[in-house]
Symmetry: C2
Subunit: 469 residues, 2 copies
């Protein structure tokens, strides 16, 4: 590997290269620190330089040159991912896509754009053009990029109506550049999309994205409180099951999450209040009112545009999804989280069982989504962290009760998923990244096909802590 | 009752009154003849005159005057309903709303209009204004009115995504005039909507409607053939369960429905082909192709805009819902139909059981819908009619197998439903039509609260056959 040769050649090509240590260090970090486990493993990781292309042609140059010099390339958008997916485990080059922000075409139901545009800016462009918006986005809408969302996310605000990014129809097309002596540009559609979506940039660099759109509405943010957590779950589940009521978010927080961690909501709830956060389409408000009237325990405490709180809470979606953990972390740095799938069959009973056994060490934060045509529930559960051993115990208890764990305290694709390789992703990496230079260390099966998953995978190529300190 | 006095007073008021016998007779008929049972009972029924108001003020005049003269009032839009809901069982006045067609306001996600506008014209207005359209419509879109759809329909094209008219959020507001000495105008919202929606105009006259809208797309009509009917069902069910694939119609026809009854499709299918009809959003087409590729038995025979059939099939939705029966009837006048709910738990198995027992006397025509957040299936089953007794036997067999029957061979609300009164509708009729003059004979419980439902209800007030012949 010759870092310096790569830097020199790239600079000579006119590509924006950053080697300034504090700036490189800051661009070498994502939100991995959500996890105390990842914080321990990855805090020292740093790239050698940052390359910021302005076009696909420059992406191709960067990949060609890094390939020639055997320089690892880890791609990032805004770095708001919290699985360490943008952490350059082996140093090398950070490929920063933040300047590739073009919106190329907007048509009824679809948009074509570059990967580095912020979700917020993409929504603004679609709304201005034709009253449209993305079907779903992460709670980091204001700061995250569409490319990062696709390469490292699974769904979010909007998944209560549209399902996840993985579901057919929710990504229309990806254009991808390979990491070879002569990088190829490939148009990826159909089932092949799963080769590169949610692959952390391990097997190709996304340079163009075609996404489906939904109509843009002035969604009404709402908070309700419930004394009975189970009623809050039931209410949210049933609301999401109303096919005629258009909502974009239904999130449930066990008490005392809202009281303890949501500063602007706290004055309006009690310690024992479970809270539900919703986004409802304006024209669904009459129906929502009708629906809500049937729940005796539902107390509406905030309706955006109607309720006059001394301090406005801002976007309601910035309380849900990964923002819940973020808000809790700001108040109590010992908080971390889990990602749990409670399924579609009887999620409310399963959540009740987990709560019974683990509250308050573990507090339920539940997102309602759709999957396979049914209403489902997922937990982005808050955990009071004490030790890695205890965290593993808590995860094991979930699995034992039938709640499926997607471990956010691991930096590999497999451990964050179902602990098996996605054969399509592996096969595509063989094709698109034969030297294994793209985001190395993130795909266990590439490095150690026989890994047992008995314990946390520690990639042997990870920068030693001493090297960077 | 003084018909002549009513006619004179109405005419003096300047209201458009039609007493010309052939014209009154034609406006006294709906599509009740879909059912040989209703044809036998109602063919002779005729009103005394037709009143066609141009405004809500004229509706009020008509109701006031008919109330004073004890003249029954049966309301109609375009008369495309097939349950006899617009048949004036006791004669009197036909209130024809076909001139109340104003579109009053269109906003993101909603439209306010008068009841007499055709579904087609309302969609055109919403599309021209802001690229929007109704969430759902009957297959009689080109000829039916929005008021008739709401007063006599339950769902249709679009229900595979949005559920039925009955589901909260799918009707936003109705404005209704009562039948009293001094008619009142009431704004009906929330749960109260069920008082007057699907009430056949028995308890108030709808003069203004507020409906939710969805984005208008240039839906792509598609036909597929399958050799295996069960695979056709499974394909359609699974497609409807794709939350990320926007479709507006998924209809399955057992063989040989398409071959025997769909003239323009017939040249392209075999006698043993089951056929699936779809409407897919243009931006869902790539995902649809991906989805379809996984079904080895699915043969795409027509894609609107791509397939060059010598004779184009027209709107694909005009093969589904109640148009299936209409097409079959045109070829074989002995065909009639049933309305069956197969539910959400295991509809495919239940349909298989019914088919096994009753095909080919009974041919499966299945509509995929959503209900309560789940994919469900309903049958608008074709039946080779032989006798009323045999039809009743066939219905009983369905019920025995667990398939729920909504009998379309009855002219009362209760018999077409679950054979029980809707208490809200009855209570509202007491309030809004104390004399029982609105569409008399259509609500059993109003006339005979103790009716047993052992046999077909025959309203004692029905015009005797001899009277009109």
């Amino acid at each position: 590997m010759s870092i310096q040769a790569a830097i020199d050649t790239l600079t000579a090509k006119g590509i924006d290269i950053d080697t300034n240590p504090p700036s490189v260090k800051s661009k070498s970090r994502d939100f991995f620190w959500y996890s105390p486990v990842l914080k321990d493993r990855l805090d020292h990781v740093v790239a050698d330089f940052v390359a910021t292309p302005k076009s696909e042609a420059e992406v191709i140059d960067i990949l060609r040159i890094c390939h020639a010099e055997d320089v690892p390339v880890t791609t990032r958008g805004a770095g708001t991912g919290n699985y360490g997916q943008a952490m350059p485990l082996a140093g090398g080059c950070i490929l920063h896509l933040g300047k590739m922000t073009a919106v190329k075409d907007i048509a009824p139901g679809r948009v074509i754009c570059e990967p580095g545009i912020l979700l917020k800016d993409l929504d603004a462009a679609c709304k201005a053009d034709s009253g449209q918006e993305l079907r779903m986005f992460s709670s980091t809408w204001a700061t995250a990029t569409i490319g990062g969302f696709i390469a490292g996310g699974s769904g979010g605000v909007g998944s209560v109506r549209w399902g996840g990014l993985r579901d057919v129809g929710n990504i229309l097309r990806l254009r991808v550049v390979t990491m070879e002596a002569e990088p190829r540009v490939m148009e990826i559609t159909g089932d092949d999309i799963h080769r590169v979506a949610h692959a952390y940039g391990t097997n190709g660099i996304i340079t163009e994205i075609e996404m489906p759109l939904a109509p843009a509405y002035d969604w009404v943010g709402i908070f309700l409180s419930f004394k009975d957590f189970e009623e809050a779950l039931r209410y949210s589940y049933d609301l999401a099951a109303c096919d005629g009521l258009l909502i974009k978010l239904a999130t449930i927080f066990e008490a005392p999450i809202a009281k303890d961690y949501f500063q602007r909501v706290a004055p309006h709830v009690a310690e024992d209040d479970a809270v539900v956060a919703l986004m409802v389409a304006p024209h669904a408000m009459p129906g929502w009112e009708t629906f809500t009237a049937a729940y005796s325990g539902a107390k509406t405490i905030y309706v955006q545009g109607q309720t006059d709180w001394p301090r406005q809470p801002g976007h309601v979606f910035e309380y849900g999804w990964n923002h819940t953990t973020l808000r809790a972390l700001k108040v109590d740095p010992s908080i971390t989280y889990l990602q749990i799938a409670y399924g579609a069959d009887d999620p409310i009973a399963l959540i009740g069982k987990v709560k019974e056994r683990l509250s308050p060490e573990v507090l339920q934060h539940v997102e309602v989504t759709r999957s396979g045509g049914r209403v489902t529930m997922s937990g982005l559960t808050l955990v009071k962290f004490t030790s890695e051993e205890r965290l593993d115990e808590i995860i094991a208890m979930h699995e034992e009760m039938g709640a499926i764990n997607f471990n956010p305290h691991r930096y590999t694709l497999e451990e964050g998923g179902r602990q098996t390789v996605d054969d399509r992703q592996l096969a595509f990496k063989r094709e698109a990244d034969p030297k294994g230079l793209l985001n190395p260390g993130k795909m266990i099966t590439w490095d150690d096909p026989d890994w047992s998953y008995d314990s946390m995978y520690a990639w042997p190529g990870l920068q030693p802590k001493t090297a960077a300190e």
